[in-house]
């Protein structure tokens, strides 16, 4: 995150901020240097709650008084001071402090020494601060204040203005006049939808002389679908949204459905409390919709490290820390992450309280689901209905279907051999990591190597082995629920091998398999493009189960039943040539060869096994149970206790076994073939204890935040200094979300309005939107902050209402022109005696160029897009591994910047140069820098140049016939206002000078106007020189400070 406001970056840095550099080092500062040491090391035993040896050092007077052993200090003489002797352990005469926890660092001891030697200055406010943390203004729920009376009533349009004006009047300042209408229009367009008005929109507004012309525009903009896109950007920063995992592999990930959810939620003005609740716990809401489940992607935006050799638990824990941090910054506005390692030094949150909050988030699966965007939802429901109708038809023409199905059930009920689960454990090097579950199954996780043989062994008691069963099982942590690890949750098993070893004789027998069966194999097919291993077209088919025992590593068993049906359990049975009998304990060694992944496992091309389980049985005649595992489970339930859905599920399988249903079965099969391909999206799913691996997870405190040092177990809970959790609250994320969005929360509404204020006015009423704690600077207009927070809640947490209130205020409508006197008085414009003026965000910088040139493709939503970018960035050595960045050639090339694919390790340079964060962590306040790299970007980057070219084309097509008209037209497209005579003259002379050079042959006009060495299609009555010269003028216009500034 970058924190500097524009004021800070350009003015403060130069004139003020670095005045400290070169200054002599200050003396030890009690509040900054000493008190934190006391808080961390001493308060536990010598603070408010406990006063061991009658000594307490959280108060000035008691500190200087000392305890049972006398005064703690001899002023100016550290060597004689008890405090120093205790913490330094300098002498055996004094017990070393702290007694029960690690000693102070030498640096801390040094600070204490210096402080004592300098006379132990303890300012009075330090005491006050320590005592009053719980009384801090932001930790008490806001109460709606009554606006103060003001003199300048005429200027006031609403309560917001009263607060602002009363402060201005106190300061002896006057507000600025309302800005001109064009500027106001462009301002509110950029603020509400992130796009400038078109010429038509500008003219319509200027032509509307009614009193409510402006409020009408505000309403239009709040209804625009682009409103959601613009405001989603801010939230997505806070949500640390990106399209890749981060860390070394930085694999692409599928979570754009969450991004679209945010856009959508904002567009339908989902109340802010529900907006937060759904993102934290949408899956746990009663009757939760698909949409609400997708909202939980918010929490999944944490980075994931799947480099070789990692322990997945370490990075799961890091991911949870990141989720806490994101909630702390974006919802709570409290820097809770400090308490990850130790009790917060300044704010009243203890380490234990941190882990109580952590417990709310610690009981989930990192799940993913198949998402059907709106464009596909219709066909999914149509197909579902058609299949149901066809099955209803079968039931209709088969009145005795229940009896017949029962007969079938009786015939299959007892047809399975006894399978004994072989609890197998992973052997060998730790490329891929494996979780072992109590049911004997194993789940692969973390780094997924390709060309990889996973080796397991199991110890068994004396038995006869005739066949092995290999089950592939679903697991919420696998892509789309598995059973495999490919993007679609699929796996390919190249070879299955087993060795048996008599433990008493160490005789080894390599099992020879003669028969293999499976409940499902896909038809033989070549691997899909994503699994290309770049071996130059070597055939690597996958399909029938026999491929797993054919001795050929290049063929594999495939289980891909196509969209809609693929993510279900599968099983295979491998029968040995003859039974092998052991009279002693023996060991089975399994080799699971997996050669059917792609060349680049860093790019999500793995095809590895996900969750699986091995069993064996005595007979060699065993075959794979053709019944789906789910059907087998239902058959185990007493018939009268089966639900309608369960009966229907059995029917759906049973009908496939009935020869006379052939025709209908084929129709249904044909429908399945048309089922659309959804897209995976990352979500959370609660661990509910429904199956092995689903057990509730206990939360422990981690000493110093180290996941390898678990301390005491803690239960869910909330910090004591905040509003209480309702007595009936459980430990679910939903309870947490409800608590966060409780109207009694002192910070939630304040944080929301402050962040919104920041987006409109450049700086929040409180400058630190992520930190409302005791270390935050005092807010400007604290009453206004509280008024807005209460107003937000009163208006049903409607963010659109809040924005409406703000952008229609007189405060917002002020001119941003600044006089030297005002600049001197209030350089950062915190008092708002003028309108805010600052460079728009990186995404909008680019969107302005796209929109004003006419290239913008305004389509909403969908996968991330790949605008032109230098190819080398996505290849080693700039990138760790090769990444896919297929430059868009069609209309997607000009989509809004919100949709540009976000690789965390290779941020899209155009946006990065304009301060867009890369999503490594939650960011609620962007910096706003002003650099030469930005200039180079908007001058020279491919799409910016294409915008200049397209704008020139528009000018010559629609801009009139004279250069004056054309320049005015181009100017108004980019800046909305008319040019001044000076501006028109400047641009015209640029046009003339460069036209002349083009005419003289210095420049290839075709190349300039098209980027290619081929003539452009010219508008009527124009020539190539004109098109080229207007490209130059357009490029200059798009690079004006004003073009990328909200004036």
């Amino acid at each position: 995150m970058r924190l500097l406001t524009p004021f800070f970056t350009t003015r403060f840095l130069g004139f003020v901020a670095f005045s400290w550099v070169g200054c002599a080092m200050a003396a030890v500062d009690f509040t900054k240097d000493i008190q934190p040491i006391f808080v961390e090391h001493c308060y536990a035993c010598h603070g408010e709650k406990k006063q061991e040896a009658g000594f307490r050092l959280d108060r000035k007077e008691s500190f200087f008084k000392g305890g049972e052993y006398g005064p703690a200090l001899v002023l100016g003489k550290s060597a004689e001071s008890l405090l120093f002797l205790a913490v330094s352990g300098a002498t055996d005469q004094v017990a070393r402090m702290p007694k029960k926890s690690p000693a102070l660092s030498s640096e801390e001891i040094g600070l204490l020494k210096a402080w004592i030697d300098e006379g132990a200055q303890w300012p009075d406010h330090g005491v006050a601060q320590a005592k009053s943390a719980k009384d801090h203004w932001a930790f008490k729920a806001p109460v709606k204040p009554v606006p103060r009376a003001v003199k300048g009533q005429k200027w006031v349009r609403g309560d917001v203005d009263r607060f602002i004006l009363s402060d201005l009047e106190k300061e002896g300042l006057k507000p600025s006049p309302e800005t001109d209408r064009v500027t106001l229009l462009r301002r509110v367009y950029l603020d509400l939808i992130g796009l400038p008005p078109t010429l038509e929109q500008t003219d319509a507004f200027l032509g509307d002389k009614s009193a409510n012309a402006y409020p009408k525009v505000v309403e239009q903009l709040l209804k625009s679908p682009h409103y959601g896109e613009r405001w989603a950007r801010h939230w997505l920063d806070a949500a640390r949204y990106a399209d890749s995992d981060g860390f070394e592999k930085d694999k692409p990930r599928f979570i754009w459905a969450y991004r679209d959810w945010v856009v959508n939620a904002l567009n339908r003005d989902l109340p802010y409390d529900a907006f937060i609740t759904e993102q934290l716990a949408g899956d746990l809401l009663p009757g939760s919709t698909e949409d609400q489940k997708i909202a939980t992607g918010f929490l999944r935006n944490s980075m994931v490290n799947e480099e070789g050799g990692v322990d997945p638990e370490q990075f799961r824990t890091d991911g949870l820390f990141d989720r806490m941090d994101a909630i702390g910054k974006s919802v709570l506005g409290i820097t809770i992450q400090c308490a990850q390692c130790h009790t917060h030094k300044f704010d009243p949150i203890s380490q234990e309280e941190y882990y109580r909050l952590f417990a709310f988030l610690n009981n989930d699966h990192e799940s993913s689901r198949v998402y059907y965007p709106p464009s596909l939802q219709q066909s999914v429901s149509d197909l579902t209905r058609q299949m149901r109708d066809l099955e209803d038809g079968l039931r209709h023409v088969t009145p005795d279907w229940q009896e017949r199905m029962k007969g079938w059930e009786d015939s299959v009920k007892q047809d399975q051999p006894d399978w004994k689960v072989a609890r197998a454990f992973h052997q060998g090097e730790k490329g891929e990591r494996f979780y072992d579950y109590v049911d004997g199954s194993i789940r692969a996780s973390s780094y997924a190597p390709t060309y990889w043989t996973a080796e397991f062994w199991a110890t068994n008691h004396a038995a006869t082995v005739g066949a092995f069963r290999f089950e592939q099982l679903n697991d919420p942590n696998l892509p789309c629920g598995g059973p495999g690890r490919s993007i679609k949750g699929m796996a390919a098993l190249s070879e299955f091998r087993a060795e048996l070893e008599d433990l008493s004789t160490t005789n080894k027998i390599k099992v020879k398999f003669v028969n293999a069966t499976a409940d499902f194999s896909n038809a033989e097919k070549p691997l899909e493009a994503e699994f290309d291993d770049r071996s130059g077209g070597k055939a690597r088919p996958y399909g029938p189960i026999q491929f797993a025992i054919d001795g050929k590593p290049s063929t594999a068993w495939g289980i891909d039943a196509g969209p809609g049906r693929r993510n279900v359990p599968r099983k295979a049975v491998f029968a040995a040539e003859k039974p092998i009998t052991f009279t002693n304990d023996f060991r089975v060694r399994f080799f699971l060869e997996q050669n059917h992944g792609g060349f680049n496992s860093d790019d999500n091309q793995n095809h590895n096994l996900g969750r699986f389980r091995m069993s064996h049985t005595a007979g060699t005649n065993a075959v794979a149970d053709p019944l789906p595992a789910t059907v087998r489970e239902i058959l185990a339930i007493a018939p009268e206790r089966r639900s309608t859905a369960q009966i229907a599920a059995v029917f759906s399988y049973w009908r496939t076994t009935v020869p006379s249903f052939k025709e209908t079965n084929e129709k249904i099969e044909a429908l399945w073939k048309t089922w659309p391909e959804g897209t995976p999206t990352m979500t959370l799913a609660m661990r509910k204890g429904a199956m092995p691996g689903d057990e509730a997870r206990a939360t422990h405190m981690f000493r110093r935040g180290d996941w390898l040092k678990p301390g005491k177990e803690v239960a869910f809970g909330t910090p004591a200094f905040l509003h209480p959790l309702p007595p009936d609250a459980d430990g679910s994320r939903l309870a947490f979300a409800r608590w966060l969005t409780d109207k009694k929360s002192p910070t939630t509404a304040r944080v929301a309005v402050n962040r919104t204020w920041q987006q409109l006015f450049g700086t929040g009423l409180l400058e630190t939107p992520e930190d409302f704690g005791t270390q935050s600077p005092p807010p400007y207009h604290p009453e206004l902050l509280d008024w807005l927070a209460c107003q937000l809640m009163e208006e049903g947490w409607s963010m659109k209402s809040l924005l409406r209130t703000l952008v229609t205020s007189a405060t917002y409508r002020q001119s941003s022109r600044v006089t030297p006197a005002l600049l001197a008085r209030d350089p950062a414009n915190r008092l708002l005696a003028r309108g805010s003026r600052f460079r728009v965000e990186g995404e909008i910088v680019r969107d302005v160029a796209l929109a004003t040139s006419g290239l913008l493709n305004p389509v909403l939503g969908g996968r991330g897009v790949y605008p032109p970018a230098p190819e080398f960035l996505f290849l080693p050595p700039a990138s760790y591994g090769p990444k896919v960045w297929t430059e868009e050639k069609g209309a997607d090339r000009y989509r809004r910047s919100l949709y540009v694919f976000k690789f965390r390790s290779i941020p899209y340079p155009v946006l990065m140069n304009f301060d867009a964060p890369n999503g490594d962590f939650s960011c609620v306040r962007r910096g706003r820098s002003n650099t030469p790299l930005q200039a180079l970007t908007s001058l020279n980057e491919t799409v910016f140049m294409e915008c200049a070219q397209q704008l020139a084309m528009q000018v010559l097509t629609h801009g009139g016939n004279t250069d004056d008209d054309r320049i005015t037209y181009a100017f108004r497209r980019v800046l909305s206002r008319h040019p001044t005579p000076f501006e028109r003259t400047e641009l015209k002379s640029l046009l003339q000078r460069q036209s002349q050079r083009i005419a003289e042959g210095w420049i290839n006009p075709a190349e300039l106007a098209t980027g290619k060495n081929e003539p452009a299609k010219l508008p009527p009555n124009t020539n190539p020189t004109q098109l080229a010269a207007y490209t130059v003028v357009s490029r200059a216009l798009l690079n004006l400070d004003e073009a990328i500034t909200k004036e």
Binding site: M1, R2, L4, T9, T10, R11, L13, G14, F15, G22, S105, E107, G246, D250, N305, G308, G309, T335, D347, E429, G431, D771, G773, T774, V818, T819, P820, L823, A824, R837, P870, P877, A878, S879, Y880, G881, R904, S905, I906, P909, M912, N918, D920, F921, S929, N930, P932, L933, A935, L936, L939, N940, T980, E983, S989, L990, L1008, A1009, A1028, A1036
Partner: protein, 478 residues
């Protein structure tokens, strides 16, 4: 002043002076003027107030002014390069003592894997008698100019977190890198080039990605700028097709005149900063390609590095690093990710040394002969070490955080020093241990900073590169 410089000079005079005085000065008033007309050092052509990266004073005069960091990503084996262990050779093929590996976590291997003797011979070099591997023959020639630290240790043993740790002092992403802290503290001595330049030359990219040279919560202009050794060194440096230099200049001048006029009307000094940025961009368009053109170097210098114009090699990058710091770039970092020898240890290490040894040593020699080594720190090292235990058959080593080696030279580093020692197997650093935080504290000290005082307030807390630890390693100081 050559012709090119003259051109630049004229250009600067034109826009900066004329327009700031004539057009903007009038409307702006005292505040802006103080910056606009402020002192005008030789390095900073434009007024200081408009340069967030203007040179700044350190806490105290530092011996070093700039840094070249050769980041050997992937983690080179200290046991084959810097830390000779005869005992390891002797116990080759046997299991390590149990107490040594008790509680030890390894990335890939079972900690109870057999010990693997060093793959290369070692010999002592120079007056200092520094012990170096046979695969570092060039480094041996500068043995008396460098300090080898054999007692490094770190907290992380996976690449991405460990690289982030080594570069930012934290395993968590989001903190500013050493290079960013350096420019934050010292500013830049050039306004025509980025202050912090990054190259990547290995077989792959780094594990930590752009965050290795990120600015974290510092202003974004402290980000390292990735340079390419071929093509446009800086992204978007070249004019678009069809735009020649006079057209570019004419366009920029027009933009700046319009912006200047606007500045006069609106009065927001941010516009002045924009004008300045466009001027710098234009200068960068000329300066950067010139600096990057190593064909301008004499043949014997190119040979010294093993540099060949037009190739994206480590050697070229080392030579470019020297050229860049000569132009005032504050921090150059070359990432060479090739050192992750889980297997093929002998062959790959040999190859890596062939690629990097000559140029690394040449950099030290070349800086020295130009008098630049005095105030330039050169650092060579990876993110952790390798296990004394074998991985795979008999030719690989796993990740190892407890002990590894680095070397440094110049900028106040004590030459000819070998600091610290490890146990008989090179498993644990034992004498004069240097943690990553200590290394950072020492480097900041050399640059003139008290590492506990170079801070940035973020989220209610003063953050620093060394977090809450780090001690200056005084033995490393000349």
């Amino acid at each position: 002043m050559n012709k090119f410089e003259q051109l630049l000079h004229q250009q600067r005079q034109f826009t900066t002076r004329r327009w700031f005085f004539k057009e903007c000065g009038v409307g702006l008033g005292a505040i802006a003027l103080r910056g606009l007309l402020g002192q005008n050092s030789a390095q900073a052509a434009a007024p200081a107030g408009l340069h967030p990266l203007a040179p700044k004073k350190s806490h105290f005069p530092g011996k070093a002014k700039r840094v070249i960091y050769l980041f050997m990503a992937g983690a080179p084996s200290h046991l084959e390069l810097f830390d000779y262990k005869p005992q390891l050779a002797k116990f080759n093929g046997t299991l390590p003592p149990e107490e040594l590996i008790k509680g030890y976590r390894a990335a890939f291997i079972n900690p109870s894997s057999t010990l693997l003797g060093p793959k290369f011979k070692f010999a002592k070099h120079g007056k200092s008698g520094a012990e170096l591997s046979e695969v570092l023959p060039y480094l041996a020639e500068v043995a008396d100019d460098i300090a080898i630290v054999r007692s490094m240790h770190t907290d992380a043993f996976n690449h991405a977190p460990a690289q982030i740790m080594m570069n930012t002092g934290s395993q968590q992403f989001g903190r500013p890198s050493l290079g960013a802290w350096t420019t934050y503290g010292l500013g830049s001595e050039t306004q025509d080039l980025p202050s912090y330049v990054v190259f990547s030359t290995g077989g792959k990219g780094t594990s930590g990605g752009a965050s290795n040279w990120g600015s974290g919560f510092l202003p974004a202009f402290h980000n390292g700028t990735l340079f390419r050794t071929g093509g446009d060194p800086v992204l978007y440096l070249s004019n678009p097709k069809g735009v020649d230099d006079p057209m570019q200049k004419d366009t920029l001048d027009t933009i700046n005149r319009l912006n200047s006029k606007r500045l006069g009307t609106i009065g927001d000094p941010e516009i002045a900063a924009r004008i300045n940025a466009y001027e710098m961009a234009y200068r960068m368009q000329h300066v950067a390609p010139e600096v990057m053109d190593i064909s301008k170097e004499p043949q014997h210098i190119r040979d010294m590095y093993g540099a060949e114009p037009g190739k994206p090699t480590f050697a070229n990058s080392c030579l470019l690093a020297r050229r860049l710091i000569e132009k005032g770039v504050r921090f150059v970092q070359i990432f060479h990710e090739s050192w992750d020898q889980h297997g093929s240890l002998k062959k790959d290490l040999k190859h890596n040394c062939e690629v990097t040894d000559k140029a690394s040593a040449a950099l030290v020699k070349d800086l020295k002969q130009r008098g630049l080594l005095e105030d330039t720190i050169v650092i060579w090292g990876g993110e952790f070490g390798r296990t004394p235990m074998v991985q795979g058959g008999d030719d690989g080593r796993d990740h190892h955080p407890n002990c590894f080696s680095m070397w440094m030279a110049g900028g106040g580093i004590k030459p000819g020093l070998t600091l610290g020692a490890s146990d008989d197997f090179g498993f644990n650093a034992t004498v004069d241990k240097v943690h990553v935080h200590d290394l950072h504290a020492t480097l900041l000290h050399l640059l003139g900073f008290d590492h506990t005082k170079l801070t940035h307030r973020f989220q209610g807390r003063d953050f620093r590169l060394t977090d809450v630890s780090g001690e200056v390693v005084t033995k490393l100081l000349a």
